[in-house]
C-alpha cells in the first residue's frame, strides 16, 4: 500500500511556498464554495480558478491523472447513467434510449464540481508534507485527541498495509484460494483480519510505553504549537486573500445571480 500523497511536496512553486495553515483555510473555503455552485454560468470560473491553481503548483499532470483513476469509475457511472434516466426534455431519441437535457446538464454540473474539488484538494495536500498539514489542523483548533490519533494512524498505515500483504502471501503459499464464498474461506479471512488486529494491538502497547518514556501525557507538550508561532509572509497573505475573495464571490454569485 503506497500512500505517496506528498511525494511532490519538495518542488519549488508559489503554492509550495504558501504557508500551510493559511493555505489550508483558504483552499478549504474554495472547496466549500465549489461545492455550493449549481449555476452553469459559474462553472467556467471554477474551471479557470482550478487550472490556475494547478499550473501554479507545478504538480505533474500524471500525478493528477493517477489520482483520478479510482474515482474515474464514479464519473463514468454518472456519465453513462444520468443522461438516460434523469429529466423529461428529450434531445436525442434512439428508440429505446433517449438522452435528456436535464440529465446532461446534471452530468456537466456534477463532473465539473467533482474534478475541480478533487484537483484543489490534491494541490492542498500534495504541496506540503502531510505531517505539516496535520500540525496546521492542530493550530487551527482541531482536538488534541484527534490530532494524536491521526498522527499515529498515519505513522502505522503503511506498516500495517505491508503486514497484511505478507500475511495474505503466506496464506496463499499454504494453499488458500479465495475464489469462492464458503464458511471455511470466510473463517480464514476473519482469522487473518483478527491476526492483523492482535498484532496492531500488541504493537500499540509497545508504542504507548515508548511514548510514556518520551514524556507523552505530561500535559506540557502542547503549548509549543500555537498560532502565535506561525509566521505568515506577505505572499501567503496575498494568496489567501485572493482565494477567500474568489470563494466569497462564488457564494454571492450563486445566491444573487
Amino acid at each position: 500500500m503506497k500512500l505517496a500523497l506528498d511525494k511532490y511536496c519538495n518542488i519549488n512553486s508559489p503554492i509550495h511556498n504558501w504557508e500551510q495553515t493559511s493555505k489550508l483555510v483558504a483552499l478549504l473555503s474554495l472547496i466549500f464554495a465549489f461545492a455550493f455552485v449549481t449555476k452553469l454560468t459559474l462553472l467556467p470560473v471554477m474551471i479557470l480558478v482550478t487550472v490556475t491553481i494547478f499550473i501554479l503548483s507545478k504538480l505533474p499532470l500524471s500525478f493528477l491523472i493517477s489520482r483520478l483513476r479510482y474515482p474515474g469509475f464514479f464519473i463514468l457511472a454518472v456519465i453513462i447513467f444520468l443522461p438516460f434516466v434523469a429529466g423529461k426534455t428529450v434531445i436525442l431519441d434512439w428508440g429505446i434510449f433517449t438522452i435528456k437535457q436535464e440529465g446532461c446538464l446534471a452530468v456537466i454540473r456534477i463532473v465539473t464540481r467533482f474534478i475541480c474539488i478533487l484537483t484543489v484538494s490534491l494541490v492542498l495536500f500534495g504541496t506540503a508534507p502531510f505531517l505539516k498539514t496535520i500540525k496546521s489542523m492542530k493550530l487551527l483548533g482541531l482536538s488534541a485527541i484527534i490530532v494524536d490519533m491521526m498522527l499515529l494512524s498515519y505513522r502505522y498505515l503503511e506498516e500495517l498495509g505491508e503486514m497484511l500483504t505478507r500475511m495474505q502471501r503466506a496464506i496463499k503459499l499454504r494453499g488458500f484460494q479465495s475464489h469462492n464464498l464458503s464458511k471455511r474461506n470466510l473463517e480464514v479471512i476473519a482469522d487473518l483480519t483478527g491476526t492483523l488486529f492482535v498484532r496492531s494491538y500488541e504493537q500499540s502497547q509497545r508504542v504507548y510505553q515508548a511514548m510514556i518514556l518520551r514524556g507523552y501525557g505530561s500535559n506540557n507538550n502542547g503549548h509549543l504549537l500555537t498560532t502565535k508561532n506561525v509566521k505568515i509572509d506577505k505572499i501567503s497573505w496575498l494568496f489567501s486573500g485572493i482565494t477567500v475573495i474568489i470563494s466569497v464571490f462564488l457564494l454571492l454569485a450563486e445566491i444573487y445571480l
Partner: protein, 211 residues
C-alpha cells in the same frame, strides 16, 4: 458507500458537518471522562489503522467481490473512539485515495459513524443478559449486520433523494430495490464475519474487546 464531492446539494454538506461536529464533541466528551484518556489513544489509533487496512481485504462473491465496511466491529472494539476513528479513516480515504470527498466528509462520517456507536450499544446488551457465549454471538451478529444495514439505509436515502435531476419514479424504485438486495447480502456476510472475528479475538486476545 462513500458519497463523492460534487454530488450533494450544499445544504446537506453543511447538515452533515453539523451532525458530525456534534457527534465528535459527544464522543470526545465521553473519552475525556475516562480516568486516563491518553492511555487508550495509541491503541485506538493503531486499531484505526488496522481497520483502514482491513477494508482492503476482499470477500469473493463470484463473479465479483466486496470489501468489508466493518463499522459495527469498530463500534464494538473502539466504543466512543469509533466515531473519531471513522472520521479519521474517511479523511485519509478522501485525501489519499480520492474515495469520498472533503465537502462530503461530514455526511460520510454520519453514514458510517452513527451506526458504529449504535453497534457499540447493541453489543453491550449482552452484559444485561449475563455475558454468555451464545449472547455474545447473537449480539455480535446483530451489531455487525445492523450497523451496515443502517449505513446502507442512510446512504440509499441520501443518494436517491438528492441526485440533482428528476429521475423517473420507476427507475428510482428499481434502483432502491437493487441496492436493498445487494446490501441485504452484504449485511448477512458482515454479521457472520463479525461473529467469527469476535470469537477469534475472544480466544486469542480478549482484552482488545475491553478497550
Amino acid at each position: 458507500m462513500h458519497i463523492p464531492d460534487g454530488i450533494l446539494p450544499p445544504y446537506l454538506s453543511i447538515v452533515g458537518y453539523g451532525i458530525t461536529g456534534g457527534m465528535t464533541w459527544y464522543s470526545l466528551r465521553q473519552i475525556n471522562r475516562e480516568k486516563n484518556p491518553q492511555e487508550k489513544i495509541p491503541k485506538a489509533s493503531l486499531l484505526t489503522a488496522a481497520f483502514f487496512v482491513s477494508s482492503l481485504i476482499h470477500i469473493p462473491i463470484p463473479p465479483t467481490s466486496i470489501h468489508l465496511i466493518l463499522n459495527g466491529l469498530m463500534g464494538i472494539v473502539l466504543g466512543y473512539y469509533a466515531f473519531p476513528a471513522i472520521l479519521i479513516g474517511l479523511f485519509f480515504q478522501a485525501v489519499m485515495f480520492q474515495h469520498g470527498g472533503l465537502s462530503t466528509l461530514g455526511i460520510n462520517a454520519v453514514i458510517m459513524g452513527i451506526p458504529a456507536i449504535f453497534a457499540y450499544y447493541i453489543f453491550r446488551l449482552k452484559y444485561l443478559l449475563g455475558n454468555k457465549p451464545f449472547f455474545t454471538q447473537v449480539f455480535s451478529f446483530l451489531a455487525g449486520a445492523s450497523a451496515l444495514g443502517i449505513s446502507a439505509a442512510i446512504f440509499i436515502m441520501i443518494t436517491i433523494t438528492n441526485i440533482p435531476a428528476e429521475i423517473d419514479a420507476n427507475t428510482e424504485k428499481n434502483a432502491i430495490l437493487a441496492s436493498l438486495i445487494g446490501y441485504s447480502i452484504q449485511m448477512l456476510i458482515e454479521g457472520i464475519f463479525t461473529v467469527m472475528l469476535i470469537s477469534f479475538l475472544e480466544k486469542v486476545k480478549p482484552e482488545i474487546l475491553n478497550l
